[in-house]
Structure formats: C-alpha cells, structure tokens
Subunit: 300 residues, 2 copies
DNA sequence: TTTCATACTTTGTCCAGGACAATGTGTTGA
DNA sequence: TCAACACATTGTCCTGGACAAAGTATGAAA
C-alpha cells in the first residue's frame, strides 16, 4: 500500500491530479489509513502507470476513463502505432532476448558486437531507436519489468559514453552545448545526439540533465558556443516545452542556434519558432551540422 | 518571475512547503499575477536555494528564519564544518581552477592525469570526495554557478564510467547490484562505489537511479545477487530512508546483504537495522567486500 | 472541400486554511 | 549519564472551489 506521495513519485502523476481524478472520474479510489490519508494498492498504481503511458502517447484521460475495460486492455497492450514495423535484425533480436532473460553479460556482448559492426553513427541512428521502441512496446504490454528497462538504459548509456569517450576530442567548429531543461529527466536522447555529432569532430560540451534556463545562458556565453542542443522526451508537456523554448531563445544571443529534438518535438513541427530548429530525427542533426558548416564556410 | 511549480522544481521545496512557510514565517512573499497565482522573483528563489542547502546540512527552518540577516549570510558563506580541512593537492587545485574558469578541456585533462597517477580506487577514495567538497563549498558561497557544477558532475561521471568500462568484466563473487531508491536522483555515489568494487573483480550490475523497491527485489532474484548497494545523498530525508530500507530488507531474502552508503547514512550510524550494513565511507565498501569473501571462503 | 474564427468542454494547476503525526528539543527524575 | 516525558516545530495531507490554457466542435467564408 502506497501513500499519495509515493504514487506521485512512481507514476509521475501529481498529487493534485490524483485527487482531482478521484473527484471527477471516480478513479483511483484509494482506501484510507487511520488518519484519513489515501492509501493506494499495487493494482491501482499499475493501472495509473498504464494510463500515464497512454497519455504520453496522446490519449486524453476523459476517453480512457470512458472506455470499456476490454477496449482499454486492448489499447494498453497494442504496440505504439506510427513506428514503421521495422524488420528486426537478428542481432537486435538477440539483444532483446538477453534483456528478457536477465542476461546482462550477454546483453553487453551483443550490444558491443552491434556497435563494432555498424560504427557509432549508424548504431545510434538505426539500432538504438529500434531497440528503444521494442523495449517500450514490451514494457507497455507487460512482458518487460521496470528493472529490465533500467538495466537496458544503463547498458546503452554505458556503451555510448565509452564509445564517445574513445573518440579523439572534437576540436572543430561548431561548439555545441548539450543539456535538458528542468523537468526533463531522460538523458539517452542527449547521448545519442552526442554520438552523432562527436564523430564529425564537433566540439561537444554536455551539462547533463535539468539545467535551469539562466544557467544554460551563462554556460553558453562562458564557453562561447555556436549551437545549443536541447532534448525533450515524449513525456514532456508540449505546451510547456514551447514556452520554455521561447524563454530560452530570448536568453541567449541570436547568433547561437537552438536545435530542439526528441519525441515531444514531433508534435510541434508546424509551430515555427524563430531561431529554433526542430531536429525530431537523429539524422536531422547531421543535416543541421552540415548546413551550419556550409553557412559559416567551415571546411573540415 | 517564476511560478510556484517552477520554484518547486528549481529548489526542491514542495508547493505545500512554500505556501506553509509563507503563512508561518512570512517568507517568501511572492507577488501575484492577475489570476492571484504566486510569482517569485529571482532573489527570493536564490534565498530559498540557500535555505534548502543549509537545511540539508541539518539546520532547521525556524532557526534560519529567526536569524539576523548578517548571521544568515555568514552561515551561508561558511564552508561546511566537519570535513577535515584537507590539504589540497596541487593537481586538485588545478582542476578546481579549470572549473571556475569554464575550461572544460583543461578540466578533463587534469582529471585524467589525476586518475592515471593514482589509479581508480585511490582516485575515487581520496580525490573525488575532496573535489566534491570543494565544489559544494564554492557553490554554497556563490563562487560557483550551477552550470559549472553540472559540468563537473558530467566530466567526473564520464571519467569514472570509462575507467570502469576499461576494466576486465568482473566475474568473481560476490555479485553486487547497485541502484538508488525512488526519490534519489544523485548517481555519483553509486558510480564511486562501483569504482571501488569493480577493480576487486566483483561482478557489478548497475540499474541506474530510482528503482522502485519491488523492482529491485525482482532484479535481485533474477540476477541471483549476493549484495545490494543503495546510495543516499545528504539531501535524502533520513526518516524516509530508514523506512524504505526496512521495506527493502523485508522484500529480499536474508541471504542478500544490503550495504547502505552516502551522506544520509552518516546521521543514522547508531540506528541498527538488522541485515543492513552502513557504509558511510568508501573504504567501508572494501572492508565489507573483504569480510564477505572471508565469510564465504572465497579466494580471489 | 478546405480554412479559419468562435464557442464550448476538458483538464491540469493553483488557492485557502485547517488538521495531524512524526521529529526535534528541553526538562525532570533515576 | 541516561531514559522518559511533555512541548514545540515542521512537513504533509485534506477538502472543495476556481480558473485559464489546451483541445474539440461548430459554422461561415474562400
């Protein structure tokens, strides 16, 4: 039995939301302890997690709560649409198998093989997104436990970091600063972008996650950067993303380009923000890099 | 001007706390927008951050708010006591200088040198804590910006990961699982522990940050681990830490040892939890490892 | 048919102020 | 010196009302 604060941490739904849903939709209906405080059982938390996941895909709560249990189940276990059902490489399949069977050494080995075979950029561009999607689907349909997802993230990060670290230090323009805004906790996207740019010799400086806007601005001037890369996961509220991007844009000189990427940006492509370039796909980063170098007449 | 939600994210103080402080202590006193919602200016947010920092050191709000402005200032800029004022290595000083002057290449280079000279374990044990403390003090006294702290964390993590990655894969007992509980976002401690254990040939599996207790239990049985390492930063509420550790202890077989480390544990040493071993210092990990191996008659 | 502006609905966040339990602190007695 | 008690402090939770921003449907004009 979990308290409302624990449920907030585990599902990402704020206490206010949990209470207002209870009032409006009649779900969840937690029991109470002697003091009258809410206590949620595991089943309800599980259901809340599923709902959150579906909302991150664009469904709205009103619909979800109005659905019949069967329809809801079907939706929850259906793979995310839109992703072109790519043919799975045999090696990819092997990696997925390792995750499902908790074979961490095997996983490490198969990822290493894939990376060695494809090279860093192709690995980041083609393989990692496929794996991510597979993992996401398996998670949504309950075939994969949270701890297995954690292990996967950890191993991928480890691998990308070490691959990037083994590259010679980039010292050619542009100078790129990479980070996420406060509230964005997913760092894999950032690492993937770095994996695309670093092999091109760009000078990459990563600040890690959740840097406040004013701080990014200070870092931008301290390091005299040319490009600021910001990553937003699908779970980031698009409206907030747009607002923060505007604040960010106003906080640094126009000379500096902002490249905004990650799942959230896919829904915002038609919103044109002056001085902000959308890079929803990883290949877009390479394109942007090339454009920048041509525009600044940099020969590499 | 920031909304209450933004201040919560940036300071780590919950909305409830912000409102109740306003009611009780008369600080902060945000202005209001047209809708009557609170708007905090930068100065108040800065002050709140300082207060949070002092509270993480053990001060209670009542005291802090009752203090004269001068006394408060003095406290805020004083270095944390308790840390034995260690003599700073010249190389350490150089690294700190690089951070203060935003010289990220120089920083990387000087850290690399220190690591190469000392070896992974000594580096983790002697140098990293000193650097951490220096950074913490500089931050508290305003000499260091948040983005500089971010850069430092990022570079240290990078370095430790790559050093650990270059070790031969540990395949000797015990099998150790490393992670933090939900709510603990600081991962450097975890990496440092891994940096101590991996060179000893222990089989380390890291799940990254914020793994729910039930998931840790599942991972523990899936990987047949011998030891569970949990890291708690100073900012983790001790009371909650104790409660969660008890829940965690009950969720896995007694056979598995739990090693709890990090700043929070320093205040809990006299609380004896059966089956939980405190490892407040990094050297304690090595001691525990040796103990474990002797007790299980493992010859390495 | 498409595009755009307008009105309606949904939904997350905020507010006030009361309540309470857990923790810290100080005092008394053994 | 230590244990037990009472008192003060402090974070979290509660209810239920309010509102604005985002999404959605409707209808007019191109």
């Amino acid at each position: 039995m979990l308290t409302i604060a624990q449920v907030e941490r585990e599902t990402g739904l704020s206490k206010d939301v949990l209470r207002v849903w209870e009032r409006r939709y009649g779900f969840p209906v937690p029991s109470r302890d002697e003091a009258g405080d809410r206590l949620y059982d595991a089943a309800q938390v599980e259901r809340l997690r599923t709902i959150k996941r579906l909302m991150d895909r664009g469904f709205r709560p009103g619909r979800l709560f109005a659905m019949s249990p069967e329809a809801f189940e079907a939706l929850a276990s259906a793979p995310a649409a839109g992703g072109p059902a790519m043919a799975l490489d045999k090696a990819c399949k092997a990696a997925i198998e390792c995750i499902l069977s908790d074979d961490n050494l095997g996983l490490r080995q198969s990822l290493n093989q894939l990376l060695a075979k494809q090279g860093l950029q192709r690995f980041v561009q083609d393989t990692v997104p496929v794996l991510n999607e597979q993992i996401g689907n398996s998670w949504a349909s309950g075939r994969l436990a949270v701890h297995q997802e954690h292990l996967y993230s950890e191993e991928i990060s480890r691998l990308l970091r070490s691959a990037i670290g083994n590259l010679p230090a980039g010292n050619q323009p542009p100078c790129v600063l990479l980070t996420t805004l406060s509230g964005e906790e997913h760092g894999l996207g950032l690492l993937m972008v770095e994996g695309m740019l670093a092999p091109e010799g760009a000078r990459c400086i990563s600040l890690g996650l959740q840097t406040p806007i004013e701080e990014i601005a200070m870092a931008a001037s301290a390091h005299e950067i040319d490009v600021l890369v910001l990553s937003f996961s699908v779970a980031f509220p698009p409206r907030r993303g747009l607002a923060e991007l505007q604040r960010m844009r106003a906080a640094i000189p126009e000379r500096i380009e902002i490249w905004a990427g990650g799942g959230m940006t896919r829904g915002l492509l038609r919103h044109k923000l002056p001085g902000v370039l959308w890079t929803p796909e990883l290949t877009d980063c390479l394109q942007r890099l090339q454009d920048w170098r041509i525009r600044h007449a940099v020969v590499v």
